[in-house]
């Protein structure tokens, strides 16, 4: 069986191209894995574990048709909005997990930073909530000893977020359903592994 020389050249080119593409892809994959490994290896042993933050909008609902003397508002419940995943930042020997982001229904920027300086250092948790002009809300920033040290849901931290009456009305209109009244807003910070 014979093939014309032209077809053989084309086939050869295709095989060569496929081989190069395959090698390039493999090299890229290997490089990516090595980069990630190197990056992970570069992180100090005392790097805080990933943290997760969410904003909860707690509310109760007016129960239409409730009889006289009966409970007229529902049990509490909440809507939630997750903030972006935490990022690692290393500076002068200290290593931080930082969450920096916004929630869709609040005009605020949330900056949450867990920092440790050594294996022996429990670290600090700094929470700042900034308004649209970049000024911290009253009562912020807050800095405490890092409470996010145990898994199993036992070490989360909640912060009440102040909302004006106008903002409350806006949240009720844009996020909540009919007859639902916002009771308060909270920022929940916990270890990523504890997120249900």
């Amino acid at each position: 069986m014979t093939f014309p020389p032209g077809r053989l050249r084309d086939a050869s080119k295709r095989i060569t191209s496929a081989a190069i593409a395959s090698h390039t892809w493999s090299f890229g994959l290997l490089f990516g894995i090595l980069s990630i490994s190197a990056f992970a290896a570069d992180q100090p042993s005392y790097t805080p574990p990933p943290v997760a933050c969410e904003v909860r909008y707690y509310f109760r609902e007016y129960l239409r048709g409730a009889k006289v003397g009966a409970k007229s508002y529902s049990a509490p419940s909440y809507e939630r909005e997750a903030l972006p995943p935490s990022q690692v930042a290393i500076s002068d020997g200290s290593v931080s997990r930082i969450v920096d982001g916004r929630a869709a229904h609040l005009p605020y920027r949330f900056v949450v930073k867990v920092t440790r300086n050594s294996d022996a250092d429990r670290g600090t948790l700094k929470v700042n909530v900034l308004d649209a002009s970049g000024k911290p809300l009253r009562g912020f920033p807050q800095v405490i000893t890092n409470p996010l040290t145990k898994t199993g849901g036992s070490s989360s931290k909640n912060y009440s977020i102040p909302v004006t009456k106008a903002l409350t009305k806006k949240i009720e209109k844009t996020l909540l359903a009919k007859d639902q009244s916002l009771t308060y807003v909270a920022l929940i910070i916990r270890m990523r592994s504890d997120v249900p």
């Binding site: 609902e61 529902s74 419940s77 009771t183 997120v195």
Partner: protein
């Protein structure tokens, strides 16, 4: 078998035997906790010495007391404070939809802490109006079996409170503890609860719940 409705992606089904089943997550409800049996009260004034099941803001604020019993019976009134003769003096009174009656079958006063079901010590669940109004049998006060499918822990509970129309899966603090669902610290009712759909709920409308030896009244809403 009939579908009653779907809330948050979870289908609520009425079985042929009249029972109601659904899977959902579990958030926590501290309402009804008034220290009736030595547990924490749900809400108390800021200067209260002692813990509470939930944070006060979740009850509302002046002029909007949605979550506690008030002297006027509406949110604009002042919260009723438990007296020295009550189980938890100084705490507010938090209500559940299910209410107890006195020995003669008459309603207890609204300000009585004993009128309501204690979240701290009684396993109970909260259901949306869709279920209460969607079946023939009486739902409030009925028997319920709650199972955590992650660890197979199960508990006999009572349907004792009403939740929002668009949320499904809420349980008392005692129910959470009974089936191994994490509670919050320092406020147990602020815990994360359980993710959907890890909790299975099986309700028996029309069958009075018996929990910890107490038979609960069936109550039409």
């Amino acid at each position: 078998m009939r579908t009653i409705g779907i809330i948050q992606g979870n289908t609520i089904v009425e079985q042929d035997d009249g029972s109601v089943t659904f899977f959902a997550g579990a958030t926590l409800d501290g309402d009804g906790g008034n220290g009736q049996f030595g547990g924490l009260p749900c809400y108390a004034p800021r200067d209260f010495q002692g813990g509470t099941l939930d944070i006060l803001a979740n009850a509302g604020s002046a002029g909007n007391w949605f979550g506690v019993v008030t002297d006027s019976g509406d949110p604009r009134g002042n919260p009723v404070v438990q007296s020295s003769n009550d189980p938890c003096p100084g705490a507010f009174v938090a209500a559940t939809s299910l209410q107890f009656f006195d020995k003669n079958g008459k309603p207890l006063p609204s300000r009585s802490p004993f009128k309501y079901v204690d979240s701290a010590t009684v396993p109970f669940i909260v259901v949306p109006p869709m279920i209460i109004r969607g079946v023939a049998g009486v739902v409030l006060g009925c028997r319920c079996v709650v199972t955590n499918t992650r660890n197979q822990q199960s508990v006999e509970a009572v349907v004792a409170d009403t939740g929002p129309k668009n949320h499904l899966g809420e349980i008392s603090v005692a129910c959470a503890q009974a089936i191994g669902v994490a509670i919050g610290d320092p406020h147990p009712a602020e815990g994360d609860g359980a993710p959907s759909p890890s909790i299975h709920y099986h309700l028996f409308p029309g069958t009075a719940a018996v929990v910890n030896g107490v038979t609960y009244p069936l109550q039409r809403s």
